[in-house]
């Protein structure tokens, strides 16, 4: 399964037209203890790099941007009561939403794992 990253530190894993979306381990580490995740509504239509939700830690609050356009088909409700899952497993169990991808060609606007690792070295 391929994973792609945004410059705002979201990731998307693509499988059979569905993109699972979350924030990177780097972003979760920078935020520190995550205390709240605002999830999108199932059925919401989002645009690439448009606001998807929000995340808060003891230190900061930030918006989460959609790495890809499409319709939200599932959200990770476990994060409502246990947002710390994002700290424990940002790039796996800490996923936030599944998006039915509208246009896979948008993936070219994102970074591969190697490109993202390189990007992190320069910020």
């Amino acid at each position: 399964m391929s994973i792609y990253f945004t410059k705002e530190h979201e990731w998307v894993k693509v499988k059979e037209g569905i993109g699972a979306v979350g924030i990177s381990e780097h972003a979760a580490h920078e935020l520190g203890d995550v205390t709240f995740v605002e999830l999108p509504k199932v059925g919401a239509v989002v645009k690439q790099f448009g606001v998807l939700g929000a995340i808060e830690s003891v230190k900061a609050a930030s918006d989460i941007y959609a790495p890809i356009s499409g319709k939200v088909v599932k959200v990770n409700e476990a994060l409502d009561d246990a947002p710390e899952i994002v700290n424990e497993s940002a790039e796996d169990a800490g996923w936030m939403a599944w998006i039915e991808i509208a246009d896979e060609s948008e993936l070219k606007n994102l970074m591969t794992r190697e490109q993202y690792d390189e990007f992190l070295k320069n910020i």
């Binding site: 205390t35 808060e56 003891v58 918006d63």
Partner: protein, 362 residues
């Protein structure tokens, strides 16, 4: 921009891989393993804080003829030797120049403990109001560590003997620690049983190391300290109170003695008569969102004030905050809305403290 100051044990924080950040002109440890883990350790065990950035002054002389008696909102001469008292240094308008604690060391001697960012200004303001005695800034050569948490008494008696066990709240003893004279005070900023230890700066590292050899003790940073103090409703100078805020507006009248004279008294009496234009409120959010400094407070569709402190409370599992609002919204139970850009959260004005389960007086 002045260069950041460091405490004597910065190297130890760096060795522990603490996240360091500027606070009040100092390069301070914000967190070690994580803010919530350190917060919870303090509520359940014992946490050790480097508080060397705070300021300490010594006044020696006659309190009345030296002018000290009229400097603060409380009487210095009525503090018994071996006790301390919290209150304010005000400007002529009744605004809070600083909140501080005075320790009565002897019949003619006190130690004044003030916030880091305000220390230099406090020293010159107090000095300008004195008419006698000697007044010395001992901040640079004085170290301070706080140990806070339900197990702190057991830790301290293990390290320094049974005499620690009998110190009541807001009392202190002077004793020999590591071969030097130190002050151990039953005070703190967390709502837990705990001690503030004042010791010469050259010995702080040794004391830090000694206390951390006890498995019940872990270091905690200023991030956890801020969550702990807000859960019990303590004000943070520079956020909740400042020179434009009076103790009456901040709900801190209990620390003002109107039976004595002090700078700012006339302004406060006028404000008592006319009523305060805004009041401090505490509020609980319906949910896990955190209110933050500068977020707007709305009541009945109108903006009535703003948030001065806010955080997610790990003990309560909800967002909590303090803010200042116009008096009509400062009613326990009032439904308010906290707003900032896309963020909106429903909240209810409540009483302080938010968290009542602390070991403070145990």
């Amino acid at each position: 921009m002045e260069e950041l100051k460091s405490t004597p044990i910065r190297g130890r924080h760096e060795a522990l891989k603490a996240l360091m950040a500027p606070f009040g002109g100092w390069n301070m440890p914000i967190q070690y393993e994580g803010i919530i883990a350190e917060h919870t350790w303090c509520r359940e065990q014992a946490a050790l804080f480097d508080i060397c950035h705070m300021g300490e002054f010594i006044f020696q002389g006659d309190f009345q003829s030296g002018g000290l008696e009229d400097v603060f909102t409380f009487s210095v001469k009525s503090i018994p030797v071996g006790r301390s008292r919290y209150g304010f240094l005000l400007n002529e308008q009744g605004g809070i120049i600083d909140d501080l604690i005075v320790f009565r060391l002897a019949g003619d001697k006190v130690m004044v403990v003030v916030n880091a960012a305000t220390a230099d200004n406090d020293f010159s303001v107090i000095r300008s109001r004195l008419t006698g005695g000697t007044f010395t800034n001992i901040s640079a050569e004085t170290g301070k560590l706080d140990i806070q948490g339900p197990l702190s008494r057991a830790v301290m008696t293990t390290a320094f003997g049974e005499q620690i066990a009998s110190i009541p709240y807001f009392k202190f003893i002077t004793m020999n620690i590591l071969g030097v004279e130190a002050i151990v005070s039953r005070t703190g900023y967390t709502g837990e049983l705990g001690y503030e230890i004042f010791i010469p700066a050259v010995k702080v590292g040794e004391l830090w190391d000694l206390l951390l050899t006890d498995d019940r003790v872990k270091p905690a940073g200023l991030g956890a300290r801020d969550v702990l103090r807000l859960e019990v409703g303590y004000s943070l100078y520079g956020s909740d109170i400042d020179e434009a805020t009076t103790p009456l507006e901040a709900g801190l009248e209990g620390f003002v003695n109107f039976d004595k004279s002090f700078v700012g008294k006339e302004a406060l009496l006028r404000q008592k008569e006319q009523g305060v234009p805004r009041k401090k409120v505490a509020f609980e959010v319906a949910g896990r969102r955190s209110p933050r400094h500068h977020y707007e407070i709305c009541f009945s569709g109108e903006t009535v004030g703003s948030v001065t402190s806010g955080v997610f409370s790990p003990m309560l599992g909800i967002g909590i905050g303090i803010g200042f609002v116009t008096p009509e919204a400062a009613v326990i139970g009032a439904p308010i809305t906290i707003r900032h850009e896309r963020i909106s959260m429903e909240a209810t004005v409540c009483e302080l403290p938010f968290y009542r389960g602390g070991s403070l007086r145990s």
